[in-house]
Subunit: 192 residues, 2 copies
Amino acid sequence: MATARLDRRTEIRQTARKMFKERGYAATSMRDLARQVGIEAASLYNHLSSKEELLREMCFEMAEQFFQAFSAAVAEEKTPAKMLRAAIKAHIHVIASNLDGSTVFFHEWIFLQEPELARFRKLRSQYEQGFREIVQKGIADKDFKDVNVKLAVFTILSALNATYDLYKSSEKLSEEEIAESVSGLLLKGLKK
Amino acid sequence: MATARLDRRTEIRQTARKMFKERGYAATSMRDLARQVGIEAASLYNHLSSKEELLREMCFEMAEQFFQAFSAAVAEEKTPAKMLRAAIKAHIHVIASNLDGSTVFFHEWIFLQEPELARFRKLRSQYEQGFREIVQKGIADKDFKDVNVKLAVFTILSALNATYDLYKSSEKLSEEEIAESVSGLLLKGLKK
DNA sequence: ACCTTTACCTAACGAACGTTAGTAAACAAA
DNA sequence: TTTGTTTACTAACGTTCGTTAGGTAAAGGT
């Protein structure tokens, strides 16, 4: 009973993540979702209270994962360069282990409704702040170039956040390769 | 008459670009669009033939702009490093001059219908190929590190394609600053 | 002056939307 | 064996969707 409910709940949420990722939140109907799960649309409401609840859970679960991975990764390192590399690796790891969820997290959060929308934006900005502090420390230590911190972190996160696209690519790239390559490029650049 | 029609046509397309960017294609209704323009939904159909036509035009117009800017920029340079920098600058310039259109181009093309969807994907991949050839040449010339070309280009374009977010930022960054900073970071890296 | 075209309108189409109500079967707990 | 909970169903609600039909008034060209 308890397991049966949990299984269905989980199945619905998993399927929803996949569909929200593929077609987007707005273009995925509850009837589409129900069909994919194999039940009627109305039956979904035995397991959830609204469509938006699905999105809300996905977004905040992912936010939590990113925060935890960041903290754990950074705590173990001393120099800004190592901290940044570890943070990048952790970020990519969270994406790689939640390919559907992270895509929704990056692209569908705009459909959150208002109290949560503001809360979500705040979380995102706090997370970015963590990266900014590392870069700032790197500059203060004369270890990093004196770049525009906001812009640099923005560029880094943009590059990272697109990596979910890489796993369906023809070449089979491992998480390790991706993390190494991206952090190498961002830290040391393309030029010799 | 001719001018009046053109003005309305243009106004509708401009408004649609803005709304598709802000809420997404699927979440923007023809009634929303009409209201914003100040006419009834049915009246839109004097100026266009379907909602999808709007999206189609936006996506392919932007594709054309990216291609033209790339060709023009690269043609003037000799070394891979300069070509890449010029291509990055050109890409950012196209984004900066079409903030709404380029956002739609990056995020809403999935809603294209099938003959055009395939055509669009092919164009994108051709464009990426242009970047890949520059990086390849750079490696062959021993000017660039021996990186995974596909992955490097992917990272570069991901960083570039997110720059439209920067123009609404609190700091007032010029197109020039953004292009310099991003291409500097990607070519020379963060580390000293 | 007449005719065509343009640019808008109201009304409505059938389909799809998220969600609720009410009910029956299955099954665990008592 | 009864009782309560869970999970599904059918039916339907009110709303919104993209789009079409048909009409009207003004403008432009001849």
